[in-house]
Point group: C2
Chain length 231, copies 2
Amino acid sequence: MYLMIPARPDERPLRRDAERNRQRIVAAAAEVFGERGLDATLDDVARRAGVGVGTVYRRFPDKESLVGELFEDRINALAAAAESACEAEDPWLGLQWYLEFLATTMAGDLGLRQMLLFATYGTDRVAYLRERIRPVAARLVERAQAAGQLRDDVCATDIPMLAIMLATAAEYAAPVQPALWRRYLALIAEGLRPSREGAAPLPVAALDPAQMEQLMRTHSNRARSRRPGPS
Amino acid sequence: MYLMIPARPDERPLRRDAERNRQRIVAAAAEVFGERGLDATLDDVARRAGVGVGTVYRRFPDKESLVGELFEDRINALAAAAESACEAEDPWLGLQWYLEFLATTMAGDLGLRQMLLFATYGTDRVAYLRERIRPVAARLVERAQAAGQLRDDVCATDIPMLAIMLATAAEYAAPVQPALWRRYLALIAEGLRPSREGAAPLPVAALDPAQMEQLMRTHSNRARSRRPGPS
DNA sequence: ACGAAGCGGAGACATTTCCTCCGCTACGGG
DNA sequence: CCCGTAGCGGAGGAAATGTCTCCGCTTCGT
């Protein structure tokens, strides 16, 4: 039985301080890429980890490999979620749960979202994920339809598309109301039913106009500060 | 009555060839910013216009002023749309039409979308727009609710939020199926009703798995080609 | 206590973007 | 038709940003 295996199978273990730094780097990378997306610099990661750039580059030959290692388990978690949703007793609840899981995961991590959508890094890992999920998602949808709990004209590819939309709302609203996307998940879920009477109240209040404005200012500033400029 | 006024009130008119170039530039800018967003270079605009960069910079002192002039009318159109939607006979149709207009406008133009969401350029113009639209949108929602055609817990700020989500879907799916977002507009619209029985079939087919994959490859390439790189 | 492993971060190198400058072109009033 | 001048093109200056290397110093652990 092995305890606390450092994530470097079959290699001479690192010196203790080095291993500690390595973990700090991974943790910092998770934070930085999660908040600012994959565009963040390894210099940023190093700064957050309280470590020099050199240290980062010594441990991870390049950005790609850090990002790869970082998202490996999160990607596997997505596949596992689909599979387990497929075994829910109530097919509709399973589907709803899966959509929620997908959106939650993406909503909380800008880096992961970029990885899944734009695949600038770790393309093959993502391709594998897609391949693994496809049949499961299809079954998830079919089961819900067979039970008469989901519109017949919904298709498996709609699920990721809806997740993307929700994740966007999450990203945009994050600075002001990180849970707002759940409101729209509820709304969409009701649209997915074959029919319904009345409506469960929406969770999470809508933004008020002041929040909406603040949101815009926030984004405007973020964009401006990142914009290249002369003089 | 004035015909074909060049867009430069109270200034000596341009030489004929210069005016022609000016228009080419504006047209090219509309295309380029629409397709690739506000990050596109003025060099790109010049190339598309078949003109040297110098010419662009002589006519528009900097990027900001070109972008500003370019989106002025489109922004006014948005405000006008809200106002006219408010006068629809059927409040629900008015609301639906407005949401569709908003999404269509944003979906078709990445530059406009970035302008509205991130306000890197033309901030004041957008702020004015928001101010002008706010009360109208509120009335639009209230009317639909009063007529019992819209859930009571929907709020005016939900409208732009939903438009953002739809625009994202549009952007992402654009290379493969530019109209896909209408499918999700329909879905969301049904979620907005207080209740319903049965469901009108969704317009526009869902993506099939092959298209989904192609989509991802496209984005992956786009991202990669824009990524900075060493050696 | 000493050899090796590890560290930090300045900076080389590459890229991208904005915008200027100046020698040449071609429009159009007389 | 001609020539003064408005206008043109696009190489390239200047600045920002990003990736990754290198080497003198520090710290570990045997």
